[in-house]
Symmetry: none
Subunit: 223 residues, 4 copies
DNA sequence: TATGAATGAGAATTCATTCAT
DNA sequence: GATGAATGAATTCTCATTCAT
């Protein structure tokens, strides 16, 4: 029990350092943020930092990794959700919308981490970008697979999925950056409606009535 | 004549340093790139660098400024082009497509500069991001104005322009990053068609036939 | 105790750096002396220097400040000494002589610091001179006040105190530079006698017998 | 004739550079003053500077040399003047006073050069001090010789000439620094009177009446 | 485990001097 | 002679990381 509690304390401290680092990296950028900033803010000694992390770089990588893990998990859940909906004959577009909501909620709730990933980690200074590209690739795969499902259910007009996915991902990232990280006071639900409306209209087959489909996708319990 | 040629030689050298710096910044990132790297690659002495630029930072800023100027000019041209087309009763959607082509061509032709702006300059390390945000704001204004024109000509369904612009800009940046910076061997014309098809379908009013409108926008002289 | 000893060790090291810097500045001058010289001589690493001082400039300033503090304290003591002697009806001229002795002893015992202040810090290169001028002003004030005391006790002939003080200070500085900094093997006591003899004769009222007054001021316990 | 005029023009330019350098060295100090400052102020090209001087150091040395020459010449004149006065049975003290006046006038008329010599050239940064010490030694010798003359004419009380000369030189330098370089609006004649009064009283034999001697030395033609 | 003083490689910048024109 | 662009050695300072206590 004491050994475990020591380990727990250690985990707690490690976690604390990561939290502090998140804020600092997000506020000053990776390079300008110094180990001195982090240990000061965390209230620990310089050396202690190196008991928990091998380097400043490792902390940053772990943050990205954490985003990676969280987000990949989220994408997997979304994927399952859509798959289940298709399997159960549910409203796939509404499932898609729910997925979009979850993605937005996650980023709204983790603004510092998001900022780190999309503003700091893209630079080539530290080759973090490799890992970010990997994550991006993973997200792309998931999205492609989801669109394939929709294709199989005749919910997609003929299109180049690679381009479509690039468009959807780019627009999503930009929505996150512009409307979730900045204080926009924007209602997430209406944001999701507008986004869904855009992509659904852009992607449904010609034989379907866009307005009808969209309404079915975004309509919510009255009130 | 000699005086002029001296000044010309100076311009040439300055330009050369900027070119070299573009490649190096784009390759290693702003921080890892040292003045030593630049002068070595440029084949000049350390002090010569400071004859043309006040600091490493200034070179970087000038590159961003250059992108800003170029791109702002391009956006203005595009804006005029669309305005003229509307005024002359031309095919506005095709004009839009031509604008998209010009934007893609510029970025395809300036991959290093593009990489610097969208990967390096976003980070908060050096407060370059402020200038980038400004540029982004300018682009957004232009785009909003263009959509307003389309709205006035009943070419747009009811929508939240702020969100739409965020989507269009985000998707465009991502297209640039994924399909123009990387060796995709992608044909630019077909890329433009796919993009136009997406956005037009997403935005046209319900009473229009999407396929017909899209075909009119992207059809090119047979061949 | 360990915490204290750490702090003590830090003070010791700081002091050591200052000592080394004093010698080096005095030997090569402020500009030619590099931080590299100091750390090498002090047997510490480059970064360690900056652990104790913000800059090379700061070290120099601290040395001047130290001289300022020491010397101002000395002047204050001298002032009190003369004041007390007057109050107690003692031999004011002998008190003056004792003051002169103390000033000479201090400078003889701190030759490097003295050299820094009077050779390096006067130059306009680094604006150290401002501080030196301040010190000089302070010394001047003290001296004027002391002469006023003597004036009140009818020990001074009518004279322009400003000029007199300039003469006394200039001659003192030059005595320090010529006879205390260089290896003159000069006996300090006889030096003081000569100096006192000069200034007393120059300043006493006409009605007094110079030889008698001087003898009273400089005569010491037989030997 | 043209060749000569070319040479004359060259001398003029050289002289101009020296003048400009005097002001700049005196204003910013030797180290902070850059060759760039000098050539800019002189209105010549960088390279031109090196046609007339081997280095920045050389300009400075030449300025000190110039002071040396001027001042040594002045001291020689003063020496002759005193010698002649003694030889002709004139008023030696008044001759001394005239010498003091000449010294003060020279420094008042050459404030920048004076400032350079006594503030900048003392520092050990550039080993200019060696030359300054030489000058100082020369002045000392002259002064000693003059005092010897006075000694021979029984105008001096018994004293240690080395110390006396140190006192006289130090006080003179300080008078120059404090009352001639700064805007004191001080009348030179009254300054000389005060100085003479001080030194004469300090140095005359006991059997002479100080007031009388001083009055004889400083009294000037009424009005 | 925790500490924080010490380390030293590395980077940006300056400026006296040179030299091709 | 005159020019001024080019040079590169030299210097200060930073900060991630180590290690003795």
């Amino acid at each position: 029990m004491p050994a475990q509690s020591v380990s727990e304390a250690a985990n707690k401290r490690r976690e604390h350092i990561l939290e502090v680092a998140t804020e600092i990296f997000s506020g000053k950028g990776y390079r300008r943020a110094s180990v001195a900033d982090i240990v000061e803010q965390a209230g620990i000694a310089r050396g202690t930092f190196y008991l928990y992390f091998e380097s400043k770089r490792e902390v940053f990588l772990e943050l990205i990794e954490r985003y990676f893990t969280d987000f990949a998990e989220l994408l997997n859940e979304n994927h399952r959700h859509l798959g289940n909906t298709f399997r159960d004959g549910g409203n796939a577009l509404r499932a898609w919308r729910e997925n979009v909501m979850r993605i937005m909620e996650y980023h709204r709730d983790n603004p510092h981490l998001t900022s780190i990933v999309y503003r700091e980690a893209l630079g080539k200074d530290e080759d973090f970008s490799e890992r970010v590209d990997e994550l991006s690739g993973f997200a792309r795969e998931k999205l492609v697979a989801e669109f394939r499902m929709m294709e199989e259910h005749s919910m997609l007009r003929p299109c180049d999925l690679e381009i479509v996915v690039t468009i959807v991902m780019g627009s999503t990232v930009n929505i996150i950056m512009e409307h979730l990280l900045k204080e926009s006071g924007r209602n997430l639900e209406s944001l999701a409606d507008e986004i869904m409306s855009y992509h659904i209209r852009a992607l449904i087959p010609a034989n379907l009535d866009a307005d009808v489909v969209v309404r079915a996708a975004i309509s919510r319990p009255t009130g």
